[in-house]
Each structure stands twice: as C-alpha cells, then as structure tokens.
Symmetry: C2
Subunit: 213 residues, 2 copies
DNA sequence: GTCTATACTTCGATAGAC
DNA sequence: GTCTATCGAAGTATAGAC
C-alpha cells in the first residue's frame, strides 16, 4: 500500500521551490524541475496540470506556513515586544526551512502578483495581517508608541528577506573589493534587527508598563 | 546635423526600463521593448547587440545615478543624522525618477546578479559603499551608536524598495479585504522611515552633540 | 540608420503506449 | 502512474535590401 504518488508530488514541489527561487517564474524551466525531482516531465503535468498551478501550490503552502507561525506567536500570553522578537525569529525559521522563500517573495512582489490567484493572495495577506495584530495589540496596551502596523511590517520583513536573499549578490560584490560585506552573519543580523525594531516601537517615555491583567 | 540615433537609443532604454521592471529579465520580451519604443526590433540589436547588454546598460546607469547622489550627500557639511535623512529622501527621489528601479533591484538580488558583469556589479556596490560612509562617519563622531554599516544599509534600503515596489500587490491583497493596506502613502512612509532610522542610530545617551567644528 | 522576412532555438504541453 | 516522442507556439537574433 505504498503511495509513490505523494512522494513524487513532494519531490516535485521541493525541486520547484529551488528552481523558481533561483530563476523566477519565467526563468524556471519545467524540464529542469522534472530532472531535479528525478521525475518524468509528464508526471509533473499529471500531478499539477501546468507550470503556473505548480507555482501557486508551492507559494500557497509557504505563505500559509509563515502566517500560521505568526498567528501562533500572536496568541501567546507574553508582552508584545517579546512577540515581535519571536516573530522575527519565527520568520527567520520559516526562511531556514524554505531557504527559497525570500527570493520567491521578492520576485512575486516585483511581479505585482501576476502569477497568483485570489486564494494564494489571501494566504499571502495573512502574513502582514498576523504581524499587524501584534503591533496593534502593543499599541493598545501602551507597550508601543502609536505606529502604523503596515509601516512596522515593512520595516521588519523586507530587511530580513533582502539580507537573506542577497547573500549571493553580496558575495559577488564583495569579491570585487568594493566593500567589506562579509563580516555580518545571519544570526548577528537578526539580533541587530530585533534591537532596532524594539527602538522603533518603544513608547516615548521609557516607562514600560507591565501587561499584567 | 540631427542625431536620431541617440534619440532611438534613449527611447529604447526608457522602454526597456519599464519592460524589465514589470517582467524581469526572462519575462521581458524584446519585441515588446521595441514596440514600446516605437522602434524596429532590428534597431534595438543594432544599438545594443543583445537583450543582455541592453539590460546591463540600463542597470549600470541607474546604479551609478543612485550612488552618485549618495556620495554628494555624504560630502555635504552637515550632521550625519541629517545626511541619513537626506539619503533616504535622495533614494526615494532616484526611485521617483526611475520608478522601475525597486522591482529591478529586487529581481537582481533574487537572481544573485546572474545577468550582471563586473562593471555593473561595481556600480551597484557604490550604493551601500556611499551609505556606509555616512554611517561610519556618524559613528566616529559619536553621533550614532556603534552599528554595523551593512546592517544600517539593510535596514533602510529594503523597506524603501519593498514598500514602493509592493504597491501593485498590496492593492491586490487589499482588494480581497484581508487587511487595510491602503492608508499608508509613500510620503508618510518615508517620514516614518526617517524617524525609525534616527531611533535605530541614536547613541545610548540622548545627549546629542552638535557637530560644530 | 531603418525595415522585412526569416532562420534557429527553446520551451510548455500533450498524445498515446505500457 | 510512468515513459517516449513530438507538436506547436513563442522568442532571440540575423540576413540582406534600402
């Protein structure tokens, strides 16, 4: 009663993730995905129907995963600032599990969501939504200064995505001796980001209220 | 003694900017670029030789432009924090002049610089380099806390690029009523970013020294 | 410098046997 | 579910006349 079908489909998704991340939707080659998955190209169409539907299935999964993790963090009974710290780490973890997510998100943003359907866009929207919930809660409790949740989101996620996605091009630029770009590692970057965001969100008076009730 | 050649080449560059920004290198169609430029496709090859060389010429120009503007700001006799403010506005201006720059940079980062040659990478490196100069100066003068210039760069440029490039997809997500993403405009975003970066860079003691000498 | 016509290649997708 | 073979569309690039 083995189910080789699922195995194939999963291998295809994994291979597709790499290919789409490295090349983008238009640059990705169905043949390469099939070869990487050690699967016949016809199988790919048998399972997913088209290049575009494969792409959407992949992104929908990743977006849902990321949003779900943020919602879990948002629901924990801890201070809002602590939630933000964990949200940053959580997003970094999602990226570690899907190292191709930054490149894919950046491309999709640049594409204006051309290849996405309503369902996948909805899943994508869950990410800023969950993040915004945390920020709004912190503001309501007086733990954060009044700040636009959308701005907060766009001051956290882009640096994370950009820094992690830019590793290859950073290496290329660094090799030309234009600048020393190698020193800063991913973990150090995450810690710096947490610190910077805390400063950005901190209320005017440093008197931090404890969220007790 | 008119020089229609230059005119064609410029029109091609303008059209290419739009096409590459909207579709990426692989998604861009040489036919569409030619049509948008109201130029015969053969003319495009006459002037630029290939799709890739056209792409590089375009990016090299934009990167040089952005780096040059930052270097000018870095050389002004003003406080470092003021330079950062102006750098943010300056980058926003470059983007306003080349509205396609965010999408192109994000794609190129995701591509790992695959389509760039050494010369263009060098021009790209000038941007973080000039920005880093300002940060290092501020740190040396005690106007900023000790901070990694690379981190500072990656906490400023990505939000700017991302927010501006994400306008189309944000509209799509907003239309699904997932979240109210419409309220925050570009100008407000830039002001918030300036404020956030000031907080990130501010030295531990709020005693701000005036850079008089 | 400009245009038409087309060569050459690549790629997404499918037909049809097993 | 899996494979081979191939179709047809689309795309980059060029040849060659003007």
């Amino acid at each position: 009663m083995a189910r080789p079908a699922r195995v194939s489909a999963d291998r295809i998704l994994t291979a597709a993730a790499t290919e789409f991340a490295e090349r983008g939707f238009d640059g990705a080659r169905v043949d390469r995905i099939a070869r990487r998955a050690r699967v016949n190209k016809a199988m790919l169409y048998y399972h997913f129907g088209s290049k575009e539907r494969l792409y959407r299935a992949l992104l929908h999964g990743m977006f849902t995963n990321a949003a779900e993790r943020l919602r879990t963090i948002a629901a924990e009974p801890i201070a809002a600032a602590e939630k933000i710290d964990r949200a940053i780490v959580g997003l970094a973890q999602v990226i570690r599990e899907h190292p191709i997510l930054p490149a894919i998100m950046m491309r999709e943003v640049a594409d204006g969501g051309r290849h996405l359907d309503a369902e996948t866009l909805q899943a994508l929207g869950g990410v800023p939504r969950a993040f915004g919930t945390i920020v709004e809660e912190g503001v309501a409790r007086g733990e954060f200064r009044p700040i636009d949740p959308v701005f907060a989101y766009f001051s956290v996620l882009p640096p994370l995505l950009f820094f992690l996605a830019a590793a290859p091009i950073r290496r290329q630029v660094a090799d030309l001796h234009v600048m020393d770009l190698k020193a800063l590692g991913a973990d150090a970057f995450i810690r710096e980001l947490q610190q910077a965001v805390r400063r950005t969100l901190a209320p005017p008076s440093s008197a931090r209220r404890r969220p007790t009730s």
